[in-house]
């Protein structure tokens, strides 16, 4: 049994294959998207897009979740197109056995569906969202190890259709920091905003920590990434003779390991000279984000820095 949508898609696919078409290419939200173009305008590079024929992302591969080349056998033909019409992550056929990417120069057209209807296609709306702001915990917030906090992002539905009731935010990469995933977002109507909050805990290790979450429409269509980035620092001074970076802001003094990026706005001083250890080198650094004791430090003038062993 063939449902109406699939039948419509196959018919439109058939139309597409019946006549040569060219496409504008766009990288959007990690997906390659193709928009059919009017020949004459395409030839002079204007961006007039023919109605419809918006092909969405192919289903993510099992390996990495990223669309890739359609792998073909070495048979002397052009492989049949595999995508669906709608830009959702509808699974599509992908090659399995002994794939190669060898292109072929020999033409043996693959049989395709033929259609007789007029080639007028209807644009298919897609869910779209945009990041608005960090409501809490802006990137670079300095925290103590183990500190609990709530990260809230504000997003906006910038598309023309609702983000459905199953819309959620899911942890994607980096450090999860104890956050529960997925986090339900619920329905978001066009042009309205929603705040998405997740309870997190700063890791024990000092330094920069970051995690990426992703908004998903209806729990399946990947939309925008949302990041959380904090610095974990110790509320103590560097012990004499120990390496480390002291950072200060508005009366707070904390420490980070040598080589750590410096949170924006903080003033740092450091003792980060790697050799010789006996040399004392506490001094104010240039603070150009990575504290490295640049300048006139005399510790490096000993001359065996390049031959430590």
């Amino acid at each position: 049994m063939i449902d109406d949508n699939n039948d419509k898609e196959s018919q439109e696919q058939g139309q597409t294959d019946e006549k040569p078409q060219v496409y504008a290419v766009q990288k959007d939200l990690g997906c390659w998207r193709f928009q059919r173009r009017n020949f004459l305008t395409a030839a002079v590079y204007s961006a007039v897009v023919a109605a419809g024929a918006l092909a969405g992302c192919e289903a993510p591969s099992a390996v990495t979740g990223t669309p890739r080349l359609t792998e073909t056998s070495t048979a002397k033909n052009i492989p049949a197109p595999t995508s669906t019409h709608a830009p959702t992550s509808t699974p599509t056929a992908t090659a399995t056995a002994t794939p190669t990417l060898t292109p072929t120069k020999t033409r043996t057209p693959t049989p395709t569906a033929t259609v007789t209807s007029s080639p007028t296609a209807t644009p298919v709306p897609i869910p779209q969202a945009a990041f608005v702001s960090d409501v809490t915990i802006p990137d670079g917030t300095v925290m103590s190890p183990g500190q609990k906090f709530t990260k809230t992002w504000r997003i906006k539905n910038v598309g023309t259709i609702n983000l459905g009731a199953k819309t959620d935010s899911v942890f994607e990469s980096g450090e999860q920091m104890g956050g529960t995933s997925p986090v339900s977002v619920g329905e978001v109507t066009p042009n309205s905003t929603a705040d998405i909050s997740v309870g997190l805990t700063a890791p024990a290790g000092v330094g920069k920590h970051a995690g990426q979450w992703r908004l998903r429409a209806n729990g399946s269509v990947s939309l925008i990434p949302m990041t959380v980035e904090i610095f974990v620092a110790l509320q103590e001074s560097i012990a004499p003779g120990k390496e480390g970076v002291t950072i200060q802001l508005e009366g707070r003094t904390m420490t980070l390991p040598c080589g750590s990026p410096i949170p924006a706005g903080w003033v740092c001083s450091c003792n980060c000279v790697t050799a010789p250890k006996a040399c004392s080198c506490d001094r104010v650094c240039t603070c150009d984000r990575v504290c490295s004791c640049d300048g006139n430090c005399t510790c490096n003038s000993v001359g065996h820095y390049w031959h430590p062993n």
């Binding site: 990288k27 395409a42 080349l69 052009i78 794939p99 990026p261």
Partner: protein, 450 residues
């Protein structure tokens, strides 16, 4: 009308990248467009193809004849570049180091051999009427570890009447005295550096185990402050998908380096060589493209040597053709990575010796190496990357082929995947048609070779 030659139809998702590499032209079409292009390549004339599609093809220049393919490099060996693999000593213990640098008994290139090599390339430059010649200090260990040799060799090369360009590949751990000398005397510089402090410290620690990030960042800042145009050579190991984009982002934000080359490493132990598995190759391809976009947004160039759609070449690397590469044993080799006889391709790659007084080229062995390179390209005639990776790096392809399951190695698939996606990127940046422009860096760099 002349038939369209050298055409490739590359399936991507449900569309096709229609690509004429020698014309530096690419666009995306549907199956019918791909079929039309292929019919034209088979000799069908425009009059029978007809229609708007044909007008489109004519207007974008698709019907033009191919430009001449790049010329084959001269088989005669007359290099004007001496590459000195000066030492196996190193102050770092990079976790992926193929040469296992820093360990084992000291091997350092004697100055007399370096001098012979310099004399040889200098005379070639004179004979060829070149305006300059070059000396490069390169790998197997850290060139700065053979500091005296570097100073002496540079001084000797610069004492000759013809200008000498001095190039160097280094890990960037320098003393202030060395830094001062290098800034003053080195013309071309590539720093091996892997990115964020966590990455650099973990992958490129000192022999003591301490991280090297701070030391190398200091060098990079000095280079930036001096206004030098240096390159960064990254090695990327798993997990690529999370690490590589972040490391490239760090380099873009924290350094002024305009040109970053990244190569993946798949070996899990020092001193080993290993190619990618199929899943690894695809993960790297994804990660590279993510990093590529980050670099583009920062107006930096990110290059992986196996995927170079901006380059038309008949050889992956000019090293076997026009460089005199001499390792600490005095052996002439065809690859920078053949630093000693332990390399599995050492015998194939060695085609002569340099001693205190002369360079002895074994032409039979050199011809055998070049024949090996040609054999490697035999399977490329139907591949759209044939003018770009040009048969790939013969040493890396050797290890990559060990994982091949059906005649095509995962490395080859990785190169094709990245090349195709770079083409898509260029097509997108060209508003639907790529005419050879580099979307990130302005003018194409047609002469770049590795």
């Amino acid at each position: 009308m002349e038939a369209v030659k050298n055409l490739f139809v590359i399936p991507f998702q449900d569309k096709f990248i229609i690509y004429r590499p020698l014309l530096r032209l690419a666009f995306v079409g549907n199956q019918a467009m791909a079929q039309l292009a292929l019919r034209l390549s088979d000799g069908e004339t425009a009059s029978t193809a007809g229609g708007e599609a044909m007008r489109f093809l004519e207007e974008i220049g698709f019907m033009a004849p191919d430009q001449a393919p790049p010329a084959h490099l001269d088989q005669q060996f007359q290099p004007a570049n001496a590459v000195l693999l000066t030492t196996n000593q190193c102050n770092l213990r990079c976790t992926y180091c193929y040469a296992n640098g820093g360990l084992g008994s000291l091997r350092e290139l004697p100055f007399d051999i370096a001098r012979t090599a310099i004399d040889y390339v200098y005379q070639n430059a004179i004979d060829l009427g070149l305006p300059s010649y070059s000396v490069t200090f390169h790998g197997g260990g850290e060139p700065v570890q053979a500091w005296s040799l570097m100073l002496r060799a540079t001084e000797y090369a610069r004492s000759k009447p013809l200008p000498c360009r001095v190039a160097m590949v280094s890990n960037g751990v320098w003393s202030p005295r060395q830094r001062e000398w290098i800034l003053k005397n080195v013309d071309e510089l590539s720093i091996s550096f892997d990115g964020m402090p966590g990455t650099q410290n973990a992958q490129r620690p000192f022999a003591s185990g301490h991280g090297s990030s701070v030391a190398v960042m200091k060098t990079l800042r000095a280079l930036d402050q001096a206004g030098l145009h240096y390159g960064i050579r990254m090695t990327a190991i798993a997990p690529w998908n999370t690490q590589l984009p972040a490391d490239v982002s760090f380099i873009c934000h924290e350094t002024g380096c305009q040109s970053i080359q990244v190569e993946p490493a798949f070996n899990t132990q020092r001193g080993q060589h290993q190619g990618p598995t199929e899943p690894e190759s695809m993960v790297f391809a994804d990660a590279f493209m993510d990093a590529f976009e980050i670099a583009c947004q920062s107006h930096r160039e990110l290059v992986y040597s196996g995927a170079r759609p901006w380059l038309l070449a008949t050889t992956f690397c000019t090293a076997p053709h026009n460089a005199l590469i001499v390792n600490p044993l005095g052996k002439m080799v065809g690859c920078y990575e053949i630093t000693n006889d332990a390399h599995p391709l050492a015998e194939l790659s060695t085609f002569g010796n340099v001693d205190n007084s002369r360079v002895a080229v074994d032409n039979a062995r050199r011809n055998a190496l070049l024949a090996h390179l040609d054999e490697g390209k035999a399977a490329c005639h139907d591949c759209f990357c044939q003018w770009h990776c040009a048969g790939d790096c013969y040493t890396r392809a050797y290890f990559g082929a060990l994982n091949a399951t059906d005649g095509v190695s995962p490395r080859c698939r990785m190169n094709r995947e990245i090349t195709a996606r770079m083409l898509l990127w260029y097509i997108a940046a060209g508003d639907g048609v790529w005419h050879g422009q580099n979307a990130c860096m302005g003018e194409m760099q047609l002469t770049r070779v590795f």
